[in-house]
């Protein structure tokens, strides 16, 4: 029996990352100072990210593909990992869960996301998704002595397992209909056999939408998000709201645009109500939140709704605008969480909106940074959030969804209320008590990077936009 060794070059980033995650796991035994493990994780991830430059091509019999699209998402994942670890170092010490497994689990979760972004086969996609999800469940419950953290992990796990059931059911129907799990072969089979409009295929697409909608926290599959985001360690909330969401969008883009290209109209019709509902639930329910982590959870739901507009257009302009959006969202969201983390110190939770009262007087710099991130999340120029929304909305208008954009803009205006309320609390109210800030060099570094990115992308967006467009070539 002869079997040629598959070309390992395209899959190199994943191999290196896996080896590195295992090394980090072992280093934890040898190194007593967990901060060192964190620094090694950051340095290793940064070095491995260079391997993305030279990897293109498809391997393992077409199960795995490294192209511009996957590379773009992998860059988001790497940024997410590095920023998350930067904001974690001090925080997990404050929460008294300063264990080395934390970092290796984050790395394993990222490997899962990378596999998802590169999957061109439904089986690889599913396994990548499970790898990502399983690591995140554990991370959500990492503060074991905290009841809320444990509850959030359990909730995430149960609902995640439920959504995996939907994914597998959808995959098995697709496999039964087409006899393959390869995305491109599915597409050819559907056009050749004239399967478009087949009800079973629609059912399968519906099932996959449920599963992916769960991962990106789109309504009505968002129920887990507020509880999990609130209960999980704040650093992991930042991680979860960027990484798994981007990975979910990556697979939606690839599966729907490639495998189900022939039935574009059908899945766009499914996604439009989901997108409207997501924006509505996210923005309206966020109005009544008093816990800032919970508020950002609803905001994260709403942002999934905006990014879905890019997918609904079903053309390369829309997909690239969705990619831009997620790239920008990574910076502004982690930035906001980096400020929230500073307010957490020994014995003080610092998660309530009232904790932000008069922050501009006690800690002007922290307040100013929060102001930038809140402006960016609202989408006010000259911040990056504006650019993200602008390109998504433009793509949707060009694809003929003007009414949908009007709806989105209305919800976006509603969102200004709860984002700017934080700003109002910080700048127009007097401080009740002086909260101590937990500052650290690494958290400051993360804040500097995110602030710079939000402002630079906001003022000079062309580079990012061109990059996303170029990444889509050959998609």
């Amino acid at each position: 029996m002869n079997f040629p060794l598959p070309d390992l070059n395209p899959v190199m980033p994943e191999i290196l990352m896996t080896a590195f995650a295992l090394i980090v796991l072992l280093l934890d035994l040898l190194i007593k100072k967990k901060e060192a493990v964190a620094v090694i994780s950051i340095a290793g991830t940064a070095i491995i990210s260079l391997s993305l430059l030279k990897t293109t091509g498809s391997t393992f019999g077409g199960m795995y593909i490294a192209d511009g699209y996957s590379t773009f998402f992998k860059i988001i994942f790497f940024i997410n990992v590095i920023l998350t670890i930067l904001i974690s170092i001090k925080y997990i010490a404050v929460e008294r869960v300063n264990y080395g497994e934390y970092y290796s689990l984050i790395l394993f979760s990222t490997i899962g996301m990378m596999i998802m972004a590169s999957a061109s086969d439904l089986i690889t996609l599913y396994l990548g998704l499970e790898l990502m999800a399983l690591s995140t469940y554990v991370l959500a419950g990492f503060i074991r002595h905290n009841l809320k953290s444990t509850e959030s992990a359990l909730k995430y796990f149960l609902l995640g397992a439920f959504s995996s059931g939907f994914l597998l059911y959808g995959i098995s129907i697709v496999y039964g209909l087409t006899g393959t799990t390869d995305l491109r072969l599915i597409a050819t089979f559907i056009t050749e056999r004239g399967l478009s409009g087949n009800l079973s295929l629609l059912l399968a697409i519906g099932m996959l939408t449920v599963a992916f909608g769960f991962k990106i926290a789109a309504a009505p599959f968002h129920m887990w998000a507020p509880d999990v985001y609130e209960g999980a360690p704040t650093s992991i909330t930042a991680f979860m709201s960027v990484g798994p969401k981007a990975a979910g969008f990556a697979v939606i883009g690839r599966v729907f645009m490639i495998a189900f290209a022939a039935v574009k109209a059908d899945w766009a019709t499914i996604l439009i109500p989901i997108s409207i509902l997501t924006m509505a639930v996210g923005n309206i329910v966020a109005l009544s939140q008093t816990n800032i982590k919970r508020m950002l959870a609803y905001s994260s739901i709403a942002h999934a709704g905006y990014a879905l507009l890019g997918i609904i257009t079903a053309n390369s302009e829309g997909i690239s605008s969705m990619m831009n959006y997620l790239f920008i969202y990574a910076f502004m969201n982690i930035g906001a969480f980096a400020v929230i983390i500073m307010l957490r110190s020994e014995g003080i939770k610092g998660e309530d909106l009232s904790d932000y009262e008069g922050l501009s007087k006690t800690h002007p710099l922290a307040a100013a940074l929060m102001l930038i991130f809140m402006f960016s999340l609202t989408g006010i120029p000259p911040t990056a959030g504006f650019i993200g929304k602008l390109y998504v909305f433009m793509a949707a208008i060009n694809a003929g969804y003007t009414w949908l954009v009007i709806v989105a803009v209305i919800f976006s205006a509603i969102s200004a209320y709860f984002y700017l309320r934080v700003v109002m609390y910080m700048y127009m109210r007097d401080p009740k008590t002086e909260l101590p800030l937990t500052t650290s060099f690494t958290n400051g570094l993360a804040l500097a990077v995110t602030t710079a990115a939000v402002l630079i992308i906001g003022v000079f967006p062309t580079m990012l936009v061109e990059f996303a467009r170029a990444a889509l070539k050959g998609f």
Binding site: I115, I123, L177
Partner: protein
């Protein structure tokens, strides 16, 4: 015709047994119904000419996983299941959605057209033997997902240790 009759029996039995597993109040009863469920799933594999899968199903699920379940029941000493009002009041809504899903599935499955069979026909597998065919596929064509699966198991182990083994520092 006989095989269709058997399939209908197994399919219905699996649904009924699954319902019994989740509705029994006594956890030991649930686990024992689950044992029966696993055997029926193994029976389903037999009808697909997948003897090896059927054997694995019995060994791994009925033999291994079920024993673990029994251990958990034993260690937790659960006589009656906990019933928390907050989570048990959504019955009617859940039932409506389940019914809707059932209608949607049964309506759309009538339009299901099975794809032409693949390379591995029953004769070919008989000629090659199950284990060889399966092993060959797992280590060649499906080596990538196979390796990813091993990572998932590793993460599961790390996760279990992190969440359960560490002593709490209070």
């Amino acid at each position: 015709m006989v095989s269709i009759g058997f399939f209908i029996y197994f399919a219905f039995a699996i649904v009924v047994l699954s319902l019994l597993v989740v509705t029994r109040k006594n956890p030991v009863h649930s686990v024992l119904w689950m044992l029966l469920l696993f055997f029926h799933i193994a029976g389903l594999y037999l009808f697909l000419n997948a003897e090896f899968m059927a054997a694995i199903q019995v060994i791994v699920y009925a033999g291994g996983i079920l024993v673990l379940f029994l251990f958990v029941v034993l260690l937790m000493n659960l006589r009656e299941e906990l019933s928390i009002g907050k989570y048990t009041t959504f019955g009617p809504t859940g039932f409506t959605f389940a019914l809707g899903l059932f209608v949607a599935v049964s309506m759309s499955l009538s339009s299901f057209i099975a794809a032409p069979p693949g390379k591995y026909s029953i004769d070919l597998i008989k000629q090659e033997t199950h284990i060889k065919a399966l092993g060959k596929l797992l280590y060649t064509e499906f080596i990538y997902p196979f390796e990813v699966a091993s990572l998932i198991l590793l993460v599961a182990m790390i996760g279990a240790i992190v969440l359960a083994k560490r002593r709490l520092k209070s």
